[in-house]
């Protein structure tokens, strides 16, 4: 057993941290106040070649694993970029994995290099207002007409759709009544988001103002057949394959944002003097921060274990879910304690920790609720009856 990172992994973490250091607290504070996609940040990450970290070398990437991607995403969030920085590049990192696994050589040549270079932005269109986590019940239809499909329906919580050129879209191609299994009859497309046929409406939300979340309404949006990934009707199974890596990356981001908050809390507790001593000398102040450190480290180890298992080709469902649960919980708690450590100033925007708290709610809620993770662990690991 070896817990040490390889020199290349260290170099990746340091490289990402050095890159992020150019985007300071003031940058992200302004983004949080004014909104607007962090294009400069996205471009810098692209130019340093990090967007293609998981994309195979022959398609312009570096062909590394989820472990390296997790190191990268943790470093981004921990730099103070939080979920604003992480979500701005999140989809480039692993979103197109179904194309890597199931795409034709022509599709890989066409779709992957622009994503690795950051020339094309993409969004991920799965969630719908009436289906949520019960994905096989999704209602968006893609009806076949000759050599194309016509898409009608509605998606929600689609991040970056304001700036995305393309969409990875999950839609039903065979009515559920005609399928033996509801998981069949759903297909996956990677295609241009045709704004003439898809209206994108931004959702006002609690945090991460820089990176938009949206509703999308499709009205007869045409998708050429050559943009379908893999076989018709198997899209849901393709997507499933990518869910565990997504959980690992979200977990890494949650650990990162928790560390960003904890670092500020510890700095403040060391420097702020009340009653003639630094507040960090008081156990009531230092113990919660010590507990945060332990929880974040434990979650990070679970995260790396899940990533390692995925990269080794081992089953990682339980570990990836546990990592996302533990990391989101630890991250959120660290942000809360960071605010309490700052006292009244923790509530002021200029101390950054309230922004982290608002953003730390995202990995707690998405992409799967903590409740459903408990259901999964109870059922799949402990062998208890399914509860839902």
């Amino acid at each position: 057993m070896d817990f040490a990172l390889t020199p290349e992994q260290e170099a990746i973490r340091e490289g990402v941290a050095a890159l992020c250091a150019r985007f300071d607290d003031a940058y992200w504070l302004a983004k949080d106040r004014e909104g607007g996609f962090p294009h400069e940040f996205h471009r810098a990450v692209a130019e340093a070649g990090y967007l293609g970290i998981c994309i195979p070398e022959e398609y312009g990437g570096s062909g590394l694993g989820i472990t390296e991607a997790a190191l990268m995403m943790e470093a981004i969030a921990a730099s103070g970029a939080g979920m604003s920085g992480a979500t701005a590049v999140h989809l480039n990192i692993f979103g197109l994995h179904p194309v890597v696994v199931h795409g034709t050589p022509e599709q890989k040549r066409r779709m992957l290099p622009p994503i690795a270079r950051g020339e094309v932005k993409a969004c991920f269109g799965v969630t719908e207002p009436t289906t949520g986590l019960d994905t096989t019940r999704l209602k968006t239809r893609a009806e076949r007409r000759g050599d194309r499909y016509v898409v009608n329906g509605q998606k929600v919580w689609i991040s970056t759709a304001q700036v995305a050129d393309n969409i990875l879209l999950l839609a039903r191609t065979t009515p559920v009544e005609q399928c033996r299994n509801p998981a069949d009859g759903i297909s996956l497309f990677y295609t241009r988001l045709d704004r003439a046929r898809a209206s994108v409406r931004e959702i006002e939300k609690m945090g991460r103002k820089a990176v938009d979340s949206n509703e999308i309404f499709f009205e007869d949006m045409e998708v050429p057949e050559e943009d379908r990934i893999g076989e018709e009707g198997k899209g849901f199974r393709y997507i499933l394959h990518g869910l565990n890596p997504e959980r690992v990356l979200i977990a890494a981001e949650a650990v990162g944002i928790g560390r960003a908050a904890l670092r500020r809390a510890a700095d403040y507790a060391r420097e702020r003097v009340v009653f003639g001593r630094p507040i960090g000398q008081n156990q009531a102040v230092q113990h919660p921060l010590a507990q945060d450190w332990m929880a974040l480290e434990a979650a990070w180890l679970m995260c790396l274990q899940a990533a390692w298992r995925y990269d080794q080709g081992l089953d990682c469902g339980a570990q990836a879910n546990a990592a996302k649960y533990l990391a989101a919980e630890a991250g959120l708690k660290a942000c809360q304690n960071a605010i309490m450590t700052h006292g009244g100033f923790g509530y002021a925007r200029e101390y950054h920790v309230e922004r982290f708290l608002r953003e730390a709610m995202i990995p707690w809620i998405a992409p799967v609720s903590p409740n459903l993770i408990c259901c999964y662990i109870a059922e799949r690991v402990l062998g208890l009856p399914k509860s839902y």
Binding site: E8, I12, G15, A48, L64
Partner: protein
């Protein structure tokens, strides 16, 4: 032309340095180590000369423990072509390093050696000058600007009174000051490429260099704690205190 860039493994500049309990040196166990920042500037300058088509090959060399390979890899990821590790555990004084570098220069035949002006661990500011003396080469130290000029090198030096420009004929030694450039961070593809670049390992004895220390460290101690300052209400009071308390005017 071929360039040689020495890089030193030092305690990272962000680390709060602690003196060992026995007073023999500073704590380096379990401490983050990095490339000396002035050496990063040297690597960056070399890579820029290569990008301008002036340099053809950059060799990064480090003298130190086996772990100094990490700093060579960093140089390779920034754009150096290959590395040489002169492996030695224990103290290496500037004169020993200069002798090692002289032996490497004689073997490799570079036209230019770019070094950091000093390392942030012992702040000796000696190796570059010693190497120039041992080789009998011209030197441009504390460089804030390096311009090739017809088989020569124009170097702007940061000296006490301002800036001094010297012209060096090649081969030559340059040592870097802080304002020469801003080093790049390695891109991911270059980190990946660096894995495949070769690093040759030799021992000081293979180069015929005796690195036995000539100096002995008597004691290492922390600087005295700074006392809190005083606030004064007026310029008059300030002048009065400078004259009568501090006795500096």
């Amino acid at each position: 032309m071929k360039l040689l860039v020495p890089v030193k493994r030092v305690v990272d500049y962000n680390v709060k340095v602690r003196v060992k309990a026995d007073g023999t040196g500073v704590e380096t166990a379990n401490v983050k180590m990095s490339m000396n920042p002035f050496d990063e500037i040297a690597v960056e300058e070399a890579v820029r000369l290569k990008e301008k088509g002036i340099a053809t090959e950059i060799v990064a060399v480090s003298a130190g423990p086996a772990a100094a390979q990490e700093q060579i890899r960093t140089a390779l990821a920034m754009g150096a072509d290959r590395g040489i590790l002169v492996e030695h555990d224990g103290v290496l004084e500037p004169l020993a390093v200069a002798k090692i570098l002289k032996a490497i220069v004689e073997k490799e035949g570079p036209q230019l050696v770019i070094l950091g002006k000093q390392a942030i661990d012992d702040d000796m500011n000696a190796t570059g000058q010693m190497l120039a003396a041992l080789l009998g080469w011209p030197q441009g130290t504390f460089a804030s600007r390096v311009e090739p000029a017809d088989g020569a090198l124009k170097v702007t030096r940061e000296v006490d009174g301002g800036l001094e420009t010297v012209q060096l004929r090649l081969p030559a030694i340059v040592t870097t000051d802080l304002r020469l450039n801003e080093p790049r961070y390695a891109s991911l593809p270059n980190i990946m490429k660096a894995r495949k670049k070769p690093i040759e390992t030799v021992k000081p004895a293979d180069l015929g260099v005796d690195v036995t220390p000539r100096l002995s460290v008597l004691k290492v101690e922390e600087p005295p704690k700074r006392q809190a300052g005083k606030k004064v209400a007026s310029v008059q009071e300030l002048v009065e205190k400078l004259r009568n308390e501090a006795k500096v005017i």
